[in-house]
């Protein structure tokens, strides 16, 4: 028995070593450097909590916090709710596989490629969207990526286009696991399709909804790639999210300690929000079942 345990630990060791070296040590280093003033070249100078207190006074960071909140809320409303609605409408209809593929294809494209495609589509003078407006003789010619706060919402459209498919697939998986008996029972009891969805399917989708919402929240908190490609957080830092601000402070302005403090705060927020949500949903699931 003891030998079995030793062998088990031996197998776990490589994975554990990787986690320690590649995750835990850098995380600890990041926390450590968040208490220093450091440009990456000169020796770091300890400055206590100055990086954290600066966060509260930094106008750019507060805008970035506001944008992050917009990203989270928008993600929950459009890619998540939209994914659920598409899944419900697509399930069981003729051509279900075709519709599923259409909504899923954007997910197979990388964030960078998605950003570039949408940057071209949003181009004021050469983009397809404004061209359509011109064809339709609409007096609209927005600067999608340079008007504030329109630029944030433009990027969220691109984000929704890409993320909707993942959520749809997850919800379809969830819908597929719901047993037919409760649905048949509700129909026999006289419930219409909407009532069946709200009172039977939706509560039974709760486990998958928890996963989808948690993933969507975490992903929107750390949204970076698409923003970096489309606006780089600009113009004048107006469309930065916390992840972009962290990158910019660290790798463009070389305020490594300040960037580390933003990383710590972002991690704390993500861990706190997602664990609170999962805990709450887990409790409700226990009550439900």
């Amino acid at each position: 028995m003891k030998k079995d345990l030793a062998v088990s630990y031996l197998f776990v060791l490589p994975a554990l070593a990787l986690v320690v070296v590649l995750l835990l040590v850098p995380m600890m280093q990041n926390i450590y450097y968040s208490f220093f003033d450091w440009d990456g070249l000169k020796a770091p100078v300890f400055n206590g909590l100055a990086n954290y207190t600066r966060l509260l006074e930094d106008r750019d960071f507060l805008i970035s916090m506001r944008n992050t909140l917009i990203w989270v809320v928008f993600t929950l409303v459009f890619p998540v709710l939209g994914g659920l609605l598409v899944a419900v409408f697509v399930e069981g209809v003729a051509g279900e596989r075709l519709f599923k593929s259409i909504f899923f294809i954007p997910l197979t494209i990388s964030f960078v490629a998605t950003g570039i495609i949408w940057t071209y589509m949003f181009s004021k003078e050469l983009g397809v969207l404004n061209h359509v407006f011109r064809l339709a003789r609409l007096p609209l010619q927005p600067s999608w990526l340079t008007e504030v706060p329109l630029n944030t919402f433009s990027m969220l459209i691109a984000w929704t286009w890409q993320q909707l498919g993942t959520n749809m697939v997850m919800f379809l998986m969830g819908l597929g696991t719901i047993p037919v008996e409760p649905i048949e029972a509700s129909i026999i009891d006289g419930a219409n399709k909407f009532q069946t969805f709200v009172h039977v399917k939706l509560p039974m989708l709760r486990p998958i909804t928890t996963v989808v919402i948690t993933m969507a929240m975490v992903n929107s908190f750390k949204a970076f790639d698409i923003i970096y490609v489309m606006t780089r957080g600009g113009p004048y830092r107006s469309s930065e999210t916390m992840a972009v601000t962290m990158f910019r402070e660290t790798f463009t302005l070389f305020r490594l300690g300040y960037g580390a403090a933003i990383a710590v705060l972002l991690s704390v927020i993500v861990i706190a929000v997602s664990s609170l949500y999962i805990k709450r949903m887990a409790k409700r699931d226990l009550l439900y079942y």
Partner: protein
């Protein structure tokens, strides 16, 4: 299989993996010792893409001095800067890397991360101007090598100018007349963008330098303030051009949209470095459509001023193959090597004795004009002011471009940013 055997199997398998990895690493080292190939990191792996040109230079150096280099491209400037800064203090420092002159070099030199090349500059002293050498000199020591020099002007579409009977403007009034004529005929006079952040300084430096070159230098070096009335006056001229609708929409990209609009005759002028001709021609603009002139001064007292961009290649102080890197640097500084690379990219060699017969007439004439008419040469804003100021200033310029009414707030912010830096670094 009993437990002991199982344990032994696992341990043996682990040892085999480590042994294979060690053998692989040793093999790699042997190979490296036999034929050291230098690592050369560069920032032009996106748009424009110089990777094939650097590859050709690596092969040329290998053929001529027996040492080649493998260029490692980075697609964006900020990722490149981060990668270089992270690598320089380590044993994995690049042997050679592209960089920017003056303040951008100073940060690295102050930390002892760049190898001195004073002896190479002494060896080639008859081939470089004193002014260029000075731009690479810090505390009496010279660093890196200059591989290209470029001047900033306004690229214009000759066909469009001819169509509307326009000639190159010599005065500010003529310049405004050109813009007005183009605008009335449905052609966007000039390109201006906030995309990719850095291009926002283009119009800033043009406006300030053409108000007063001394003011420009003082502003860059912390002797003048951004709240100076002359700065506000120059911003007022800039705001006037914006208000008159003389620029493209600020979301228009400098590298993809503007060449297309320029070629289609929808955009007549693009203020940029003389290297922009390569961007235009590689995007399908015929060479004979391209002309370049220096923006006339809005304050006539500012005189004849041109902006210079000198491009350095630096060698790391921690370069794993220092001697081989110096060999390549020596060749690249010489007339042949310097001319070879400049010819690849169709730009001006920094070495005054390099062959320039490959240069298109428009660029030959442009440089000839700057020399013969005694233009005062100023360093480009990107290099001329400390990096922490420049990186924040380009965002403030974007704010102004998008909202010229915010000029007072923008100038106050710029003043605060500059003051924060100079109070600690004067």
């Amino acid at each position: 299989m009993n437990d002991g055997r199982r344990l032994l199997t696992v341990v043996l398998a682990g040892l085999l993996v480590f042994a294979a990895a060690a053998a692989f690493a040793a093999g790699g080292k042997e190979k490296a010792a036999a034929a050291p190939e230098l690592v050369m990191m560069h920032d032009k792996g996106g748009n424009p893409n110089y990777q094939p040109f650097y590859e050709a230079m690596g092969q040329q150096a290998k053929a001529r001095v027996g040492v080649g280099f493998a260029p490692t491209p980075y697609p964006t400037t900020d990722v490149f800067i981060s990668a270089v800064r992270a690598a320089l203090p380590t044993r994995q420092a690049p042997d050679l890397f592209t960089w920017w002159s003056t303040y951008r070099m100073k940060d690295l030199i102050d930390q002892g991360l760049v190898a001195e090349t004073t002896d190479l500059w002494d060896k080639h002293k008859d081939e470089y101007s004193q002014g260029l050498r000075d731009a690479f000199t810090f505390d009496g020591k010279v660093y890196g090598l200059a591989y290209l020099v470029e001047y900033w002007g306004i690229w214009y579409n000759k066909e469009v100018f001819a169509k509307y009977n326009l000639s190159v403007p010599k005065t500010w009034a003529e310049f405004l007349n050109v813009c007005d004529t183009l605008k009335r005929n449905g052609v966007t006079p000039m390109g201006q963008t906030v995309q990719a952040r850095w291009p926002t300084f283009i119009l800033f430096e043009e406006m300030i330098a053409r108000e007063s070159p001394d003011l420009y230098v003082d502003l860059c070096e912390g002797r003048a303030r951004y709240t100076d009335p002359r700065v506000k006056k120059a911003f007022g001229v800039w705001a006037d051009l914006i208000a008159k609708g003389y620029f493209t929409d600020p979301s228009t990209d400098l590298f993809s949209d503007m060449p297309r609009l320029f070629n289609q005759g929808q955009l007549a002028m693009v203020p940029c470095g003389s290297w922009y001709m390569t961007v235009l021609t590689t995007n399908g603009v015929p060479e004979d459509k391209c002309g370049i002139f220096i923006m006339p001064p809005h304050n006539a007292a500012s005189g004849k001023v041109a902006i210079l961009e000198a491009s350095p290649i630096l060698s790391s102080a921690n370069a794993p193959n220092m001697e081989a890197a110096r060999k390549v640097a020596d060749y690249w500084m010489g007339a042949e090597g310097n001319g070879f690379f400049a010819k690849q990219v169709g730009q001006y060699p920094a070495n005054s004795k390099s062959d320039t017969s490959y240069l298109p007439k428009v660029k030959v004439d442009f440089r000839q004009m700057l020399v013969s008419e005694n233009y005062r040469i100023l360093n480009r804003f990107w290099e001329a002011t400390p990096t922490p100021i420049c990186e924040q200033a380009v965002d403030k310029f974007a704010e102004f471009i998008l909202n010229p009414a915010a000029v007072d707030r923008v100038l106050a912010d710029l003043d605060r940013i500059a003051e924060e830096y100079w109070s600690k670094n004067r």
